[in-house]
Symmetry: C2
Subunit: 370 residues, 2 copies
């Protein structure tokens, strides 16, 4: 095996492929990146058995072949290599890989490429295409609401409900719920699946194009894959049934408050500062007379308060929240303003934004001593 | 107590004062920053009993007084406060501190200011003034060579030998030695002291002026202090006698090699990459025919080699080093080129640079299997 390619492109490929390498690989070979040179194309593969990545790039292939190199050392060596072009060749006699760039020569031991499990492309039962910016929005606006508690696996992922022309994503940790949907022109099919939050976070790191590009999504009963430009990403799904959440969503609030999103987030972060790390990790909100008064306290440290203007309809109301549950949601909003629909101090609140009617967020307040 | 001052200036003051707050304070009050308002000046103090800092800044004092606030919360609150101006007042009745900026109001609990140990200005036996850029160079070029091994305290600090018009600083971990001196126009006195490397690192973080400023240094038998602009920094010294090192410095090398410093460092870092974290943490250097060939290997990973041009006088020589010991020193050099003076594969090497004849570095090679 022997090939030459631009250093920066190889480094990008290694950077993305490395995402599927576990810090504690199940077997030594999974600490490696599999490289295959064929035709005029170099293919990199990596997997931790949960997710798998295939990255393809153009290269001058002098001699086709395959090898598996330590992901960590390959990345460090290529990153520091002088020159703009890198040559990699595998010596079958010596069983070592030569890497050359500028004045520098490295050799790296290759693992046995024939033992590499490989990443297989998913056939799937359902397939649809979506622009990456739309998929990014679906994922970003739901994944933050998931739980970290591995004892209830279904809540550690985002539920994706494909039903005709509508795809609905939902994430919850049982105290809060984020729901975002996307309507397509043509029917997509029907399928329900739960995608692990970690998988979605990795996909979000890859979907970074400046101009909207197509992502081809393929789903099977236990796996989902994304083909995006020259990157193929596949991941296992979470087994189980996601509970119905439609009756959790409050219907008609009696108090409706609209505020400036950025102003609200920064004031809330300041007020929450004092209680964030303590057992008193809530913030009290008093909506009255066109004003939101925020208050938080911590007997060991002190207290903080701040006011922001609020355009109100309906009666005044006092309510308390784990402020992280509000801040996390406010940070994914895309509109200049946001609206809180409230009914009672202990009833869930509905948060919406004018520029995206397809997104809703529900959060349960906290019971506090007054 | 009541005062108003520009937020950014107070934040800078808190940032510097925080450096003397231990992450594990010996007593709760040492987690605080002491503030004293008097005349038209605000003074901040902090100490962990090893080092102490006093920072003075101008403020509008409405009512003089003193208080001690949690360093961590004071910093976080001031950092996020809206507006350009901050007002702080202490309410003697309620025993709480009010902090106000823009629309935001905080209250922080004050610790008992009368219990604060305070930072006392050192009288000292010897005093001299030096430009901060010169002091920075003295410290930077020696402190990196110190040991981390607390079992031999004298090597965890830099020896400062004041003798007439010359101040000589030396740091060593017994495998390497960095010596830098500074000659003054007037005699300074005579004194020997060992400054902890940690103290020097903190002083280096403070000495950051763009234009050379005066630093007044005061020394006593167990303490040293630095007055720099509006910052007073004081630290304890290490007790003990620093060994004589003059006969460790090689006299005349038989092979003298000059190389480009930047080129040498980057090639050495690349070659060392392969063996850095392993038990084979050395790099082999072969000086011959106007060329330095560097080589390092690690049986588990692979091997690396690179060549850099070397202007040589004297016979060819092969020698091996812990590459960190070379790289650390090469990185503090200020000259475009550097010179290695070598004699035998197992004899110490002398490294010098043309633009600073007052700096020398000696490093012992490693014994390796060939």
């Amino acid at each position: 095996m022997k090939f030459t390619c631009p250093k920066q492109e190889l480094l990008t490929a290694i950077g993305i492929t490395s995402k599927a390498i576990s810090s504690k690989p199940q077997t030594p070979i999974l600490s490696g990146i599999y490289l295959r040179a064929e035709g005029n194309q170099l293919e990199l593969q990596s997997t931790d058995y949960e997710i798998g990545i295939i990255y393809q790039l153009a290269a001058d292939i002098d001699e086709p072949g395959q090898l598996v190199l330590s992901g960590r050392y390959l990345q460090e060596v290529i990153r520091r290599l002088p020159g703009d072009v890198v040559s990699i060749s595998y010596d079958n006699q010596e069983k070592i890989t030569h890497i050359q760039g500028g004045n520098a020569n490295y050799t790296l031991r290759s693992m046995n490429a024939s033992e590499y499990p490989g990443v297989h492309r998913l056939e799937g039962n359902l397939r649809f295409t979506i622009k990456d910016n739309l998929l990014r929005s679906l994922f970003k606006k739901t994944v933050f609401a998931c739980s970290n508690d591995e004892s209830r696996p279904v809540f550690t992922g985002v539920n994706m409900d494909i039903d005709g022309t509508t795809i609905t994503l939902a994430g919850t940790n049982t105290h809060r719920l984020a729901v975002k949907k996307q309507v397509f022109d043509e029917p997509v099919g029907a399928m329900k699946l739960i995608i692990p939050a970690k998988t979605i976070s990795e996909v979000l790191r890859i979907l970074t194009s400046e101009v909207p590009s197509d992502v081809e999504v393929t789903c099977s009963f236990n796996q989902i894959s994304f083909q995006y430009e020259n990157i193929y990403f596949t991941g296992r799904l979470i087994e189980g049934a996601f509970p119905s959440f439609t009756n959790v969503i409050p219907k008609n609030g009696t108090t409706c408050v609209t505020m400036n999103t950025a102003e609200l987030v920064s004031a809330m972060e300041r007020v929450y500062l004092i209680s964030r790390t303590s057992q008193y990790n809530f913030i009290k909100l008093s909506f009255a007379d066109g004003n939101l008064h925020m208050y938080s306290s911590n007997p060991d440290i002190g207290m903080a308060e701040e006011n922001v203007p609020a355009s109100m309809e309906g009666p005044a109301i006092d309510i308390a929240f784990n402020a992280d549950y509000l801040i996390d949601a406010l940070k994914v909003l895309e509109s200049e303003s946001c609206t809180f629909s409230l009914t009672k101090p202990l009833a869930p609140v509905l948060i919406t934004e004018p520029d995206d009617p397809d997104f809703i967020y529900v959060v349960t307040p906290m019971r506090t001593m007054h």
